[in-house]
């Protein structure tokens, strides 16, 4: 039987570059159509809700914004047993169960995918609630997708050009273009954050 592959984007689209992972999966589905053994999923900030998807998968490819204090836009690729630790550290967690806990739980239950591949990108801005991807991060989406496609090619999985299955992605109203283009102006939307937590931002 063909290996089941889950391509998962995680993060909160409402927090600027935190939406990187979700936007990668969206873009991937815009451009490529995959055979039935590959599933694309917008995991948002969900925790245990993602377990059933992990259980089905032999290979898990995760796109995520990973904050490791690198230059914004730097890609970071992590494989297999290094993935949980990597996602646990320096990652802000809006998640009830951080994704590293989801993996730990799947391991405890004996159904963690055999192969894990994290395609991470260093965010520039996380403290802009309601904001979209910054240019430097958005610019890495094609490279991130290329890494996933390369791995899929090694697994003998060949997608075809053209829009794929989007049934497990976000509602159209918060897909990237609608979300970013529909943003109210700075005057309308008060965007000052909590200054104790603004140390990461450029300002």
């Amino acid at each position: 039987m063909a290996q089941q592959v889950l391509i998962l984007g995680i993060g909160n689209v409402l927090w600027a570059d935190e939406g990187f992972g979700v936007r990668c999966v969206e873009t991937l589905a815009d451009q490529w159509s995959f055979p039935d053994n590959v599933k694309l999923l917008d995991g948002g900030t969900q925790g245990l809700y993602l377990l059933p998807f992990l259980e089905e998968a032999d290979v898990l490819i995760v796109f995520d914004a990973v904050d490791y204090g690198l230059t914004p836009g730097t890609m970071k690729i992590v494989k297999n047993e290094e993935v949980p630790a990597f996602m646990g550290a320096k990652k802000m967690s809006l998640h009830q169960t951080g994704f590293q806990d989801v993996i730990a739980t799947a391991q405890l239950m004996g159904y963690c995918p055999d192969e894990l591949l994290l395609i991470g990108c260093q965010p520039e801005e996380l403290e802009d609630y309601g904001g979209g991807l910054r240019d430097v991060v958005a610019a890495q989406i094609p490279a991130a997708i290329e890494i996933a496609l390369d791995r899929l090619a090694e697994l003998q999985i060949t997608p075809t050009r053209g829009e794929g299955d989007k049934s497990n992605l976000a509602d159209p109203s918060i897909l990237r273009s609608a979300y970013e283009d529909g943003r109210p102006s700075e005057e309308e939307a008060y965007r000052k954050g909590d200054d104790r937590f603004l140390t990461l931002s450029a300002k």
């Binding site: 993602l50 802000m92 730990a104 739980t105 239950m109 004996g110 918060i174 200054d195």
Partner: protein, 596 residues
Amino acid sequence: MVTTPNGFNIDNTGQRIVVDPVTRIEGHMRCEVNVDENGVIRNAVSTGTMWRGLEVILKGRDPRDAWAFTERICGVCTGTHALTSVRAVEDALGIEIPDNANSIRNIMQLNLEIHDHVVHFYHLHALDWVNPVNALRADPKATSELQQMVGPNHPLSSPGYFRDVQNRLKQFVESGQLGIFKNGYWDNPAYKLPPEADLMATTHYLEALDLQKEIVKVHTIFGGKNPHPNWLVGGVPCPINVHSTGAVGAINMERLNLVSSIIDKCIEFNKNVYLPDVIAIGGFYKNWLYGGGLSSKACLAYGDIPENPNDFSPDQLHLPRGAIINGNLNEVHDVDVRDPEQVQEFVDHSWYEYDEPGKGLHPWDGVTQAKYELGPNTKGTRTNIQELDEAAKYSWIKAPRWRGHAMEVGPLARYVIGYAKGHEDIKDQVDGLLRTMDLPFDALFSTLGRTAARALESEYCGRLQKHFFDKLVTNIKNGDESTANVAKWDPSTWPKEAIGVGMTEAPRGALGHWIKIKDGRIENYQCVVPTTWNGSPRDTEGNIGAFEASLLDTQMERPEEPVEILRTLHSFDPCLACSTHVMSPDGEELTTVKVR
């Protein structure tokens, strides 16, 4: 020592303990308490450490899309926020939903309620009472006997089964992967269970993980997908076609049968595992009746699960609506969330400002204008607070009040209100539980009472889910396949200006979204979420909120190990993601506890 207007004695002279962040919750929260020389908590300060600004991101958006944004606020209450949002828009525009939509929404909301309660109890809260490390010392045979005594109808009860689980757990712990069981104070004397009860409960932790995967399939069936199901202003976005091949994705008999089997699994689990566990575990903690806080004095519920579509009158709601104040259970006030005098938010102790200090604002007129300033007695700096000054502004959570009263919301509040109103199902459940546990009525007003009310509610929601499933099937069989009313879908049919409110009972309490629509766009959007009520800071008059009240007078075993604080705060199932906003610069979920 000071006595607050809502009747609590506060003394902030003792040793200060800071817990930051409080773990195993959604979002980030900090808590500071003062303990006296005997280790008893005499002052409590709860603060949301993150700025909240959901409202402003919705300004100018299409009201029909608001649910998709609100679904992203939080990793738990996705569906509840979405439901509240579509209800607010329907209320504003006078849209009536069809009967099937009401039944399907109720099934989804009840399903989420059960999912949340089960996951909360086993995966977030049980570890405050259950010690998985101690479970390694259990005798599997004795565990089997215990299981057969407390849950005789649960099929998974053989000594071999428990031995297998114990071995699995052992491997997990020995591999150094304590992972999900980290952050525990496993040798603290506050843990009272014998190893066999620890093994039984830890085993159910694992069973609940499997069950929760099943439960959420209902969201995929009716919402098209999970973890972010689709919602629709005017109804539900799933066509029904039980006769033939029909549209792809339509609800057919096969899918309905799957829903039915999941509902049965929920009912079985609640009856044979969840409730018996709460009773068994609670039995070892019967002397730990701290944490009642506001529950005996002031409770609020908006009510939910309407029997018929579009009818939110109190006698039509399966989850009760009402307000109890001043500890008078003989009088339950009705709640009108439109009345500008009832629900108001104050910011005197919150990092916001209004034009007029001391005033409360109704959510339709709500303002979210940040003002971060620290009181003169704060210790530390603006970016590294060591000790808050609660006499000044000290939280990113606003202070909502009902007619000026600080209120508790959530399962216990709903059950106290239901009981006081003579709600038959609730009364039977509560009386039965107290009889089984041989506890007086007042025992309900406690941390354990809150935890027990959640289990009872999960059981009740299971039965309600079946009721609405049967109703849906009957209606479909009678030829009604309508699931949405799109007569007012087009903004050209809307008035130039409209205001509305949507209410639900989220798993953790009363949730309201207030919306103002102008020229087809959102002009103002305010959410008052359950944790804003429970976790609120003090108000102008000095009334303390539910978290703070519930921690007072608690005896701590070891002040440097805040098991008791976590226990009580977790019993509220706090969700700070939507009541406040992120973020810790390093997201490590390692609690630092500082004793000063």
